[in-house]
């Protein structure tokens, strides 16, 4: 009886510690201006994406679904999820700047159980990612709905809008965690950011666009599945749940590898 009480008290302490550790990680994010700069980046990137999708002339030879079709409108609204690039970058920055400024050591003095620190950091950045996703959805949808009346378009698929909104927020949260994991594994800040940008914006983007059979299994392609986008020549990606599972799988695998390598590594 008393031992049960003691156990539950210890459990409550552990929960309180984990919660305050999460608060510490969130305060780290909000106490510098990086999140704001990246948020402006999200808005600009999505704004340009939405406007370009609506007003860009047809590209001969690269037939994308038109705005008169449901597929075309889904693609337009799924632009709201493209903030995931910033989510993965801020996750990687969040981890690598701890190494760059050597703040990780003081963090590990406060809480030497490194797994807890990693989990808290991933949790905090999942929150940041979800916030970026939400802002992207609100801002992207508002722009799309404001500019769409200027062009001929089909009926707006309301159900899909909810689905794309949920997918964007989840996707951005998962990509932010992936960013923390990549930052942990690469360690060097410039290397991590360059690697992520080259991968996301170039290699993966090309594979998703021109080799969807392979691309749909990559994280970015899986997100395209979650957002139910349609590629060139009507290429389709994984179903929503398939894409979500693949994305969760990548995040879990990278997250676990990152946490495991942190366990015994010397910290300078």
């Amino acid at each position: 009886m008393s031992s049960t009480r003691a156990t539950s008290a210890a459990g409550a302490t552990v929960i309180a510690r984990r919660r305050s550790l999460l608060s510490a990680e969130i305060l780290k994010v909000t106490s510098t201006k990086m999140w704001l700069g990246m948020l402006i980046g999200v808005a600009l990137y999505i704004g340009i994406g939405v406007v370009a999708t609506i007003f860009a002339p047809e590209q001969p030879g690269m037939p994308m679904p038109r705005l008169s079709t449901t597929e075309g409108l889904r693609n337009l609204f799924s632009t709201a999820g493209s903030g995931y690039v910033f989510a993965i970058v801020i996750g990687a920055l969040g981890m690598t700047q701890e190494l760059r400024h050597r703040t990780l050591s003081s963090m590990l003095l406060s809480e030497p159980r490194r797994n807890r620190v990693m989990v808290a950091k991933m949790g905090a950045y999942a929150g940041v990612g979800a916030f970026y996703g939400l802002v992207g959805v609100v801002f992207g949808y508002a722009l799309a709905l404001a500019f769409l009346p200027l062009k001929d378009h089909g009926d707006i698929p309301i159900d899909a809008l909810w689905q794309i909104a949920g997918g964007s927020i989840l996707g951005c949260a998962l990509f932010a965690i992936l960013g923390v994991a990549v930052g942990t594994l690469v360690r060097n800040q410039i290397g991590a950011i360059l690697g992520i940008l080259v991968w996301v914006l170039l290699i993966e983007a090309l594979l998703v666009a021109f080799l969807p059979a392979v691309g749909k299994w990559l994280p970015g392609g899986a997100l395209s599945g979650v957002l139910q986008s349609t590629g060139f020549n009507g290429a389709s990606y994984l179903p929503v749940w398939g894409g979500a599972l693949v994305l969760v799988g990548y995040t879990a695998v990278f997250g676990v590898i990152a946490a495991a390598t942190t366990q015994r590594r010397d910290v300078s």
């Binding site: 780290k28 050591s105 003081s106 003095l109 406060s110 809480e111």
Partner: protein
């Protein structure tokens, strides 16, 4: 090292401990118990750490006792920081153990309340304010956030609490590191080169502050590569060179190690003769500036010998700089 009274918050006006006020460090930190000792023993036993083929620490063994300030001394690159990082669980020892209160750092339930550490003054995000830096660490360590403001006052940084650390001088960063170490009101303090970057006033302040913290029964280990920086602060010394222990003893064992006197007289030859006759155990050597270095004899004996021989003395004093000489010869001897 029971941590009992987060409620006892009577803290004195920080000006009493600010630079210049080193003489009267009053009740700075809430007294916790009258039992005296609240610090734990620090034990390093057979500790070695290899980085690839480089042996940073080589079979090092020493202890640090509560209630005393121990200087952890050695040239740059001698393994001091690596040893501290082993103690703090940041670096995995190759062999041996480094424990605090017989526990490894990872195994301490509330480490921030037991051990406070200040490693080199680079662990800051330049865009974060001093106060937020401490709040982050307090949250992470499960310590009340109010301690951030309290420790900033303690180290005399209250006025700069809301400034970004990027604009701080090295001395201010050292104080902020010290504030971070004190967040959990710990019984053990491990400070890596805390005097680095402090001006003479700051060093005087640090000296008084550390003496006061030690008088409360805390265990304090401060590393330095300059003996003179800490010789007025420490009770004990642990001297290492090239990762190996050179000496671990009370400071007095080094300072009392043979008396050395500097004597200046216009009658050098007569004094040498007089000393040889009256105090034959004295070892006398001529210095480049014409003075004499007299060893293994006390100053009254030299003065009496001079008086008896009617020799005029212009100067008779302990040769002060020799502590650094002892340090250099000890650390140099290990090479």
């Amino acid at each position: 090292m029971s941590h009992t009274s987060p409620d006892a918050t009577s803290r004195q006006d920080p000006s009493a401990t600010s630079p210049g006020g080193a003489a009267t460090p009053g009740p700075i930190i809430a007294t916790r118990s009258d039992s005296g000792v609240l610090g734990s023993r620090v034990d390093v036993a057979g500790l070695s750490k290899h980085f690839g083929s480089v042996v940073a620490v080589d079979d090092l063994t020493f202890t640090v006792d509560p209630g005393r300030v121990t200087g952890f001394l050695g040239p740059n690159g001698s393994g001091k920081t690596t040893t501290l990082r082993c103690l703090l669980g940041l670096v995995e020892p190759t062999t041996g153990t480094a424990t605090i209160g017989a526990q490894r750092y990872h195994d301490i339930a509330h480490p921030a309340r037991v051990v406070g550490a200040a490693l080199e003054a680079t662990g800051f995000h330049p865009g974060r304010t001093a106060r937020n830096h401490l709040r982050v660490l307090a949250l992470a360590g499960g310590i009340e956030e109010s301690r951030a403001d309290e420790t900033l006052e303690l180290v005399g940084l209250a006025d700069s609490a809301r400034r970004s650390v990027g604009g701080f001088s090295l001395g201010m960063r050292q104080r902020l590191q010290l504030a971070a170490a004190l967040l959990g009101d710990p019984g053990v303090l491990l400070l890596d080169e805390p005097a680095n970057g402090l001006d003479p006033e700051g060093i005087a302040w640090l000296r008084g502050f550390l003496r006061y913290l030690a008088s409360q029964g805390r265990t304090i280990l401060i590393s330095s590569h300059v003996l003179s920086e800490v010789e007025q602060t420490v009770d004990d010394v642990v001297i290492i060179a090239r990762g190996r222990l050179v000496r671990a003893c009370p400071l007095s064992d080094i300072t009392d190690h043979g008396q050395r006197l500097l004597v200046r007289t216009p009658q050098t030859e007569e004094l040498i003769a007089a000393l040889a006759q009256q105090v034959p155990q004295a070892r006398v050597s001529r210095q480049d500036d014409g003075s004499l270095l007299v060893e293994d004899v006390d100053s009254p004996s030299v003065g009496r010998a001079a008086l008896d021989a009617h020799i005029e003395l212009h100067e008779l004093r302990p040769a002060t700089s020799d502590l650094e000489q002892v340090f250099l010869s000890l650390t140099g001897g290990a090479q």
